[in-house]
Amino acid sequence: MKIGRIIHQQVMQLRWHFLSCLGLLMALPIEEAFINLRDGHGFYVTGLSLGIPIVVAPLLAGLIACGNVQADLDENRFIFWRSKPVGVKTFMTIKYLVGLFMAFVVIASPVLFAIISCKFVQYERIELGIYQAMGNSLMISLLAYSLCFFCNTLVRKTARAWLIGMAVTVFLLLVPFVLPLNFKDVVSSFRYFSVIYLVITLTPSLVAFIISLVAVSRDWHLQTNLKGLLWTGASLIFLLMLLFTRQVANIKVLDEEEIYNAYPRCMKRIDGKLLLETQSIRELGSSPEKQTCENFYINIENNQIHFDTIDDPLLRYRGAIFAPEASNENEHATGNLIFKKNDGNLYIVSMYVNSRRVKPSRSQTVHENVYLRSYDLSNPKFEMVSEIDLSEFVENPQSWPDVVMRQIENKIIAIVNGSCVVVEFGPKGQLKVAEKLVRKIRVGPAYWKGKQFSVPIVPLESISLEDRIKLSLDLATVDGSYYLKDLSARVDKRDGQYYFIAVSESGITRYQVIGWDDKFIQCEIKDYRAFTVLEHMVDDTWKYKSQYFIKDGILYTYANKSLVVFDIRSDRIRKLGHYIRPKQIEDIEVLDNGDILLCAETEKGFRIPSDASSREVNYLVRSGCFTGKVCLSLLKNPK
């Protein structure tokens, strides 16, 4: 038997399916793709233009699968090839593999085309996520392909087989997420979660393929009628909805009490008080210049909220507090810490990264210098008090340095690219290096294998062991931007036990410290709670990983429009509430009584006055006032 001829026949049989699917896949995002090309980004380089084909790909894979066997399983043609000296399993396996290969070529084509076109226009920045998305798409396509292939061997009617195959695919992909499965002790990181995901797609694919072979060799048929199919589909949807209700019941629309309606941007914690920046536009109308900015302290005494006007020095330097001004236009502040000294003065310590464009093209930016500076906020001139040059820690000027700052009492831990200084903050705002460690700090999340693992202790001598443990665990959870400066934001100590929380885009993991020595902290995974499919659907779960903190054994995390609160005091992570609101959450602060202050956009969007001049309108547009009003709301303690 000449397998090449069977493959050739198979390719020829599928050529129109292949070409039409390929054409459809390439044509779907054509408008966006041309815009990309015009912008010099390659043909299919952005997430949207590649995302569309990736989403559609499993549907087309199913279509190719159905077309693959339809001609061979027709009642009279079936006997034609079966009467030839070729084994059913060999014949069907070749068909399956050739069809799968062609489906994969179709699915991968947009990405391959993107890579080629990017080379052509010398655009190098293809998002890595695209490859991951394509990988996911290939896996789901494999499942859809195999199930449709299987369904068509039984049903032998293309459209019905495709519908059933796709329905089963969706069902299989959703069931593990909607069932109350607990991956505790099995899934400790996203990698393991990926393994489960692979099992979900590969196992049914393999089973479907094997049963297909048996079905064809035994000539199994399944009589279907449209009414029966519709009932089955409706039953499946009903079942899924029943399973979903468990999650739906957990999600509530945020029942918030609006306590201040202005234009607050964010909240800052200074001297044990909350500082709220507002941009009240009280006298808008005739002249936009009349807009006034006001800053308030929010005094919370006995759980009563009062708005106090900020003292003069703070008002003058509000810019420094919320977005510290750099000493020149090439410097960028990356974070700040506020200190209040005994003399009553407030000081701010910020880390600055100096960037400059290099000749001749000026298209490349280098970041050679990093400084730690302190300013006296009481000084009307906002003069620098002290500076420490951390530029020696910069390893690769072409990349933005990874910087982290933490405050431990009167000390500042400043980390740049794995090198660290402990800086003492003097009585007049002077900065003094107490300890320096070059390239000995590991910052960033680790993917630990197994239930137990070790985290290296930061080898600093100028801070206490307890702080070193907290700092080490805290640094192990840094993923992306992490501006919370409080060491207890992610690490806590309860009943003499240290534990810490890591939030990833897939779920929450609770770790507990079980011991330590001079160099390592031994940790154990206590619980993992994956985000449900509905939680994935209602918001960008990847934002949770940089916006979470612990307070009194409660984990607060928020993304764009969701605030999720978990009780993490016990070994079992328990969701207390999942609140959604219609617009963006800017910032949150948890009060001592557990109530939550929410700085968030409201529906009450800013409107241009009907008598506004074009100059006024232009001003408003430029100042971005159309993004909607932001209010300060109070949410009752979820407990």
């Binding site: 038997m1 069977i6 050739h8 026949q9 009279n76 006997i79 009467s83 000296p85 000539d219």
Partner: protein, 301 residues
């Protein structure tokens, strides 16, 4: 003794509870053209599918060219040619492409012979299969069944759906190509006049049971129809090999198999006066075997 190309021993086959073949026994001599007769739904195609190893028999055994049909299905299929009833092929292929594709399955495919067949059967290699007429489609199916010089050709109702001219044309090709090459032909059909000129052996299948098998000539000689005026007390039920008894006014026609002088004497004894004896054509013999009442109506009436 002639070696059997096909041997079937007590073969049973059922679709679920429905019995399709019941204890089929059949020997097809090598080199013969074997007419396999049966009405639609008698089980002919089921028997052929079982012989090709496409389905497992419930009981019994079948062998082709000395090989077990089910155990050595692939080896059997290499050595035989098969053409199904109303053969459908891949419409998108051209004649040349489908020949090349089928040739890939057979190690001994003869491309020169195939080219000759293309000319003989007046086919064009560039024509798409879906554009072929029914007659051309049958010719192509025949070509694909013969291109590897099979020792046995199984034709399952090959002329089904063809018009009379196409049918004759097809049969002429079958005779030309097969009769002279010592190829065993197992020709299944429900059309008697199609089989009669070519078959040297006949088997009649009815309701899953082989009713009769033997050489065509012997069958013709052994089945006789008698026309007589019966006596009032005439009872034909004790005559062996009674196939059909039909009343027509005062006279009765009696059809019996394996006709001997003894049976003639028995019949004569039931006749009020003389009787006339006639030979039957295959069509009538088939009718007698398949729908003959075997004297039951007479006995009950």
């Amino acid at each position: 003794m002639t070696e059997a190309a096909i041997e079937i021993k007590d073969l049973h086959f059922s679709y679920g509870r429905k019995k399709v073949l019941t204890g089929v026994n059949l020997d097809v001599p090598a080199g013969s053209i074997f007419g396999f007769l049966g009405r639609n739904g008698a089980g002919k195609t089921t028997l052929i599918k079982t012989l090709l190893g496409l389905q497992k028999p419930s009981a019994g055994k079948g062998s082709i060219l000395g090989l077990d049909c089910f155990e050595h299905a692939l080896e059997v299929r290499k050595r035989i040619g098969y053409m199904a009833e109303d053969q459908q092929m891949y419409g998108w292929m051209r004649v040349g492409q489908i020949i090349n594709w089928v040739a890939g399955f057979y190690p001994n495919w003869d491309m020169t012979f195939t080219d000759e067949l293309v000319d003989i059967l007046r086919l064009s290699k560039n024509t798409k299969v879906k554009a072929l007429s029914k007659g051309q489609n049958s010719s192509l199916a025949l070509l694909l069944a013969l291109g590897h010089h099979p020792e046995l050709v199984i034709l399952d109702d090959p002329t089904l759906g063809l018009d009379p001219i196409a049918r004759k044309d097809f049969l002429r090709h079958v005779i030309e190509l097969l009769q002279s090459n010592n190829v065993t032909v197992f020709f299944s059909s429900h059309l008697l006049y199609e089989i009669e000129p070519v078959a040297d052996h006949i088997a009649i299948l009815d309701a899953g049971v082989i009713r009769k098998t033997g050489k065509t000539e012997n069958l013709r000689d052994s089945v006789r129809k008698f026309l007589l005026s019966p006596k009032s007390e005439a009872d034909f039920s004790n005559i062996g090999g009674l196939l059909d008894v039909m009343h027509s006014g005062d006279s009765v026609s009696v059809t019996i198999e394996d006709c001997t002088d003894e049976k003639r004497s028995q019949l004569q004894a039931h006749s009020a006066n003389g009787m006339t004896e006639t030979a039957l054509n295959l069509d009538e013999i088939f009718e007698a075997y398949v729908i003959g009442n075997k004297g039951e109506l007479l006995a009950t009436g």
